[in-house]
Every structure is written in C-alpha cells, then in structure tokens.
Subunit: 465 residues, 2 copies
C-alpha cells in the first residue's frame, strides 16, 4: 500500500466546528474546509430510521453486487428513431428533467443544433422560437435507458450504440462521440457541427455497425479493466481505452469497409479523438447501474446526472424519483482564452462513470490526468482512497495496480455520503455558458450534499410506508 | 512524492558485514542481501584517481546530455544486406563478442534458424555442422550500429528498421519483432518460425516501408514519452506504445496497402503482439546511446548487453572495449510447464532500454508489470527511485506521473555504481537454455558488479595515459 509522504506539509481537511481549523491555522497549516455539518435533525432521524435495517442492508448489497458484476457488451448501432422510438419533435437531454425555459446555455445550444440537424428549423432564430413555443418535447436520457455526455442531446436520426448486459440482460444506449472543440454536446451548433453529425450518420455509423456485426459483441468492461492499468480512468482520460478499442475493431473494419479509403477515414476520425471511448464507458456504466435499480430499500445511487441547471441523483430504493439541487460550478483548468466567467455549471450524464466505479473513483489509475483537470498526481490517489469510505463494494474486474490491484470503489451508499460528509468525486468537462461556444475547460466538481440528504429522507419515508 | 507505507513489514536491503543482517533476522525481518562489499583496493585506487577530475566530470555530463536529448526517428526499412552490408555467411548477435563454441543454447538455436532461413543449410544437423566449422562469421549487433532482443540474430535477408537521430545524426538498426512464443530470438527454429520470418520479409516489411515512406519519420521518443504515462516501461511492457504506434501508422498503412485484406493481415500481426514496439524502443535507445559515445574521460555506460554466456558493458570513455563477466540467471515468473532449470542465463541487447533511461529504470511508470516479471507494485517504484542514485541526469521527455512528472533516471555513471554498490535494474525475458525451445518466462536480472569495477579501472588507466 502507498501513502502520502509527510516530508511535505500535509493537506488537512477540516469539517464541523471552526475551532479545529482555527487551531491548525495558528500552527501554520492551511486546512481545506469541506462543507460538512452534522445532518439536519430530520435527516439524522431518517438516517436512524433506516440504520441497522437488515433488509435494507441486504437490498443495498444486492444492488451493489449487480452493479459490480454486470457485463455490458457493445452489440450494435441503430438510430434513436428505431431503437428508442424517438419521434421527430422529441429530444433527449442529460440530467434530471428540465424544460426549455430553465435550460442552460449549452443545452439550448445543443437543442438548436439538433433541430438544425433534423431539418426542423433552418436558422438559429427559428430553432429558438420552436424551442420556446413548446412544440418540442424534452425528456432525460436516463428515462429512456440512455446516457449522453455534456448536454447529452439525442434526436431521432442520431446513431446510437446499443449495449446489452450479458449477466442481467439490461440494454443501454448512447450516441457516438463527436470529437473535440466545437461539438454539439458542448452546445456548439455551427455548420461544421451539423456537417459532422451528418457524416457520422452517413459514414461512421454504417461502417462501425458492419465492423461490429462481423466482430460480435465487444466486451467493453474488459477494455475498461485494461485501460485502468494503462493510465485511464475512463471518464476524462480515455486515451488507452480508445487505443485498445481501435486494436479490437480495426481488422473487422477493414474486412467490411467498402474501400480502404473509407476505412482510413473512419480510423482517422476515431483515432483523432482520445475521448471516443467515453461514449462506450458511459452506456456500459448505464447498463450496469440499471441492473442495480428497483431493489426496495436499497441505498445505492443508480444515477448522478446534471442538465446544466440542476444536479440530480436517483436511488435503487426510490424508483424514478430525482433528488435535485442547483448544479455547482466546476473547478479546473481552462482552455486558452477562457476563464471561470465563461463556464456553465456542471453538465452531463457522464457521472454514470463515477456511479459505476470508474472516472473520479478510479483516478488513482490515472495520475497523468491532473495535467487536464488540475491538481497534483498525489490528489488522484487521495481521491480514490476517499471514495472507499462511501461505497458498498469493490469492483472485481476494475483493478488499480498502484493499490496492489485492489478493486475500484464501486456503488455509492447514500447513507455513507450523509454520515461521512464525503461527496462523490467527479471529473468532468466544462462547457461555455452561452449557446454555441463549445468546450472551455475540464476539472473536478463537488456535488451538492443536499441531494444525498433529500434522498435519505425519501428512502426513510418509503421504508416507513 | 510517494513512499512505502510502514503498515506492512518493510523490505530491508543489507550489504557488507553480516552482523547487520543477522541482527535483523533475529528481529523477524527477512533482509534482501545485495552483493556489495567495499571496492577492492585496486578499484578503490582507480576511483580515487578519477574522482574530482573536472574534465572527466564535464565529459560525463556531456555524454549524459547527448543521451538524454537525442531524438531518434524511425525513418525507413531495408535489408541487413543493403543497410549494413551483411554478407551471406555473416551473422550478428546480441551482447559482447562470442564464438560458436561458447555460444549459449538459444543463441545457437537462433543461428541455426537464421541459416535455415537464408538457405545456407536444409537441416538442423547441417546448420550445426556449418556453425561449428567456422564457416560462418559472428559479430555483435552493437559493433554495426544495431541492437537485437534476446539472441539478437540478424542475417543478410532480414528486414531492419532504420533510425536516425535528428539532433546528433547517428543511425541505428533493429529487426522487426516476430511476436511471442516460438520465435527465433528465443532460440526456436521450427518450420513455423522460418515461415514467419519469410512472411515478415515478403509482406510485413514492404507494407510498413510504404506506410513509413508516406507517413514520414516517426517520432519514437514522443511515443515512448506518452507510453510512460500509460503504464509501459517500454522494455518488458509495450502494450500502450504498440497501441499508439498502430494509431500513428494505420492510416498510412491503409492509404498505401495493395488491398484492404493485406492491410488487415499486417494490422492483425502487429496488434497480436504487445511487444512489437520493443524493436522500436531499442534502436531509439541505441541511436541515443551512440550519440553519447567516444567522449574521452566520460564515465557513462553506453551499452549493456548479454549474449547468453557473458554480460558486458561499454563506456563512453573507453571506446569499443567490452568489460564482461558470466551472464547471471534471471529471477522471475515462468510460463506454464517451465522452471528455473529450463532457463538460459541473461540474454539480449534489450538492456539498451535501461541504458537509455527506460525499461527497469522507468518501472515506476508500469506498476502492472509485476504481473509479468514478479514482485509487488511498490517494488516498481522502489526500483526507479534507486536508479537515481547511479545516474548522471534525468530525461527531459520521459516523465513519470507518479513522481510528479520527474524525468526518468538516465545515463549510468559507472563510478556511482561502484561507489554505491547499486547495479542497474533490468527487466528481461527468459529464453529456454536448449536450442529450439523459445521463451520460458520473464523477470529481473542483477548485473555482475565486476564488469563495472573492471570498467572503472580501465577508465582510470586511460586517464593516466
């Protein structure tokens, strides 16, 4: 096992009464305050009500077991129209439910882009009017078995990957990753964005579908397991996983390509984007998390997601109910020319990676990620170690070499979050707050504690009923 | 910075008088003895003679600077006949000079295979007679600007990669990696081995040469730098580097392939072998180490190499002279069905990786490698930290995320080895001791201290002259 060297001044995290931190400051230590206070009386009562309930313990363990042992495979590609029955004026988005009036800039931008792509509007103004008129229907990706990075917008014509869990049988869906810079998921809708979406529909999706058909189901959790031994955490760093995916599918891509030039075009597109794999690690997490759903009494978090306005979670023991709070800002590094004032609050379903035991929870695997999200390599280790305090199990397949191949912390127990005051650590991208901008940075986000407290109270109420 | 946790029993390394280790054993600690004793009187005199010599210090620093700042690119592929002027009965091999009579089993096996491949013999018996007759000429790869993994046998028809250092202009050469299992470099010569060599000459080399020509020089040090942030140390673990190489060259491979099926054949061959990149990290190291050669007075080790019978080194300050000792055994993990009794002593030029600041010296980058070579992940970190004690510089490009992006320990100063008693750490494969067997395992080897002491004395003598 490995710990921090105390040759350097230790980082001290303080919580609760200021007496402790004041004493440290007097001794020359600069503590990092965390926003923790004892749970409010009604939350404490709720915690007590469900504490020591053997059936709830078993339910939580069962949820966690399913989450950690699901084995979702990438089995095919089709359109959202065919796979999800999405209508011409229906759009999915990341996070908990939200309407146009409350939608954040990048979500509006992505919806405008999707309307242009679908031919529902021919100008940005027309798309905005259509959005505001109530003529389009919005629903969370999570409500349709899907997940989407950042704005997470899905429209009927978009190609979706299909995942199928070979253990519990759940299916999950996700779009293909568009690449970097000006892309729909970060709220951009310039002509190049729409052109790329059309190329993905016309060229990329059929080529990948044919390769996948010839290859057979791709064991994505096995690729994640390998990538965790190659410096990825599979949320904000997917360089190894994208490389391994290319090694896995390229022979079949070549065997099924119309021409070598077409195969080269597809290979270049995927290889040009280290984040390509994110849109595979996400639905793998979604299928696993959905296997953990709907276990009465279970305290397990089965979704964490943000729509750019609100941060929300769902529990295995409380059905489809969302517990939400305003989306927090992201602390991190900005691309040249951008700063905190340009940033939208936290956005996207990509927190399904943390929900399923990778991403921020597996940061110890990815010390080099601090060059992208900020901080020091030792922080990556600290973040993972902290997550063992709030998780119900360790993932049997996702192992961390630096921790002697210990499994990643997996399955957030909402009561542990509230008791310890430790919230899940999340790596994420940062979108520009205005529609049409795109990505402005990447960093870490601190989820709001209130959503976990709200969830505990709702769970206690269900148990009483 | 990161250190070992003392919750576990510490590993104690003891050297010198047994009193210390005996005391530890009585306290229940099992020390790891290292073979260190104060340098013999003549070596100590030699060390004193060259100590504090400002010109020698500067020479060593200059050698180390060249080693760490060379930038060798992969620029082409040709035959050993054309590139090195190798005659039909000339063969190169790994390590210091050796003749047929003293050649180890796997080296003889590889020479037999190469004679069959060249059509010099049609049976193993005939090849053995030819070898013993003195009708074939043997020379070290290192003497011709080349390096070869394990037996390192090169014959005239074999395709070689050409490396060119864009800073100091040196060229270096290496064969293409054959894959795993029964392969020539581990001493196997079955028909499948010879067939594969012919396929490499006929199909692989021309396809790669065309792709490389279209691509332009491949910046191999940049790939190594990335792979070190992806869990490779680029000697015994090359999974990330091989993946990145495929991403780099596949588009050009597709653009130049005769048919998609031919491209798929080549892609599958490279992707089927995580060690493919080893034969690129080695000549990159060779070109850099050769840039550091021939600096009068320099204490820098510019080659470490083994022919299966002897382990040898060369210094920048002592020209082409080899300092040798019997090759030590390799401690490690064996493939199913094999054990230490099946193992040949240490073999191969692949120690050029350690000579140039990667491999065992960069093990901290590759904690997962312990599953292949044995030991615990913490040992990987310890090995790298120890190498800073015997090296003259840190590599500016090869950085270790887990050590806060510190450069790898680079450039072995022979006087530091003798003063500290710390020998270079080397990851390596293990060949079967009988000709024709192939690989039997992988592990770590402890080079013989005497070669470093011999080199110090020779250096002192040159300085006196």
């Amino acid at each position: 096992m490995i710990t921090l060297d105390l040759d350097e001044v230790p980082t001290v995290v303080t919580a609760g009464v200021p007496l402790f931190s004041d004493a440290l400051i007097e001794q020359g230590v600069r503590p990092v305050p965390v926003e923790w206070a004892p749970p409010a009386p009604d939350t404490a009562t709720a915690l007590d009500a469900i504490a020591g309930d053997r059936r709830a313990e078993e339910a939580t363990a069962e949820s966690a077991r399913r989450l950690a042992t699901a084995r979702p495979h990438w089995v095919g590609i089709g359109s959202a129209r065919d796979l999800l029955g999405l209508g011409p004026r229906e759009f999915l988005h990341a996070g908990p439910p939200v309407d146009w009036a409350d939608a954040a800039g990048p979500l509006r931008g992505a919806l405008i882009g999707a309307m242009l792509y679908e031919g529902l509007a021919t100008s940005v103004d027309e798309a905005e009017r259509l959005g505001a008129s109530g003529a389009i229907a919005l629903a969370p990706c999570h409500s349709r078995g899907a997940v989407g990075p950042m704005a997470g917008v899905v429209s009927a014509s978009m190609p979706m990957s299909v995942f199928e869990d070979s253990v519990y049988g759940r299916r999950a869906y996700c779009t293909l990753n568009e690449g970097l810079g000006k892309v729909l998921r970060f709220g951009a809708y310039a002509p190049e964005v729409i052109d790329r979406l059309r190329w993905m529909e016309r060229v990329l999706a059929p080529a990948l579908a044919a390769a996948l058909h010839r290859h057979g189901p791709v064991d994505v959790p096995m690729l994640i397991a390998q990538a965790l031994q190659m410096g990825d955490e599979c949320h904000n760093r997917n360089r190894a996983a994208t490389s391994l995916l290319l090694r896995e599918i390229t022979p079949d891509l070549l065997d099924t390509a119309e021409t070598p030039a077409r195969a080269a075009e597809v290979f270049r597109f995927i290889s040009g984007n280290d984040h390509f794999f994110l849109n595979l690690s996400m639905p793998a997490g979604k299928a696993a998390a959905d296997a953990a759903r709907d276990v009465p009494g279970s305290r397990l978090v089965v979704s964490m997601a943000r729509n750019g306005t609100e941060f929300g979670i769902q529990l295995a023991g409380t059905g489809d109910e969302w517990f939400t709070a305003p989306a927090p800002p992201v602390e991190g590094l900005f691309l040249p020319g951008f700063g905190p004032a340009d940033a939208n609050p936290d956005l996207g379903d990509s927190t399904i990676t943390e929900t399923s035991g990778i991403g921020g929870f597996a940061m110890a695997a990815a010390p080099a990620i601090v060059r992208f999200v900020g901080g020091k390599p030792a922080d990556a280790l600290t973040n993972t170690l902290r997550m063992y305090e709030i998780t119900a199990t360790e993932h049997p397949l996702y192992q961390l070499p630096v921790l002697d191949f210990r499994g990643t912390p997996c399955g957030i127990d909402v009561t542990l979050v509230v008791r310890t005051g430790i919230v899940p650590v999340v790596n994420t991208g940062i979108a520009g707050r205005e529609p049409g901008i795109g990505q402005v940075g990447a960093g870490l986000v601190t989820p709001p504690m209130s959503v976990f407290a709200d969830a505990v109270r709702a769970l206690a109420q269900r148990v009483e009923e």
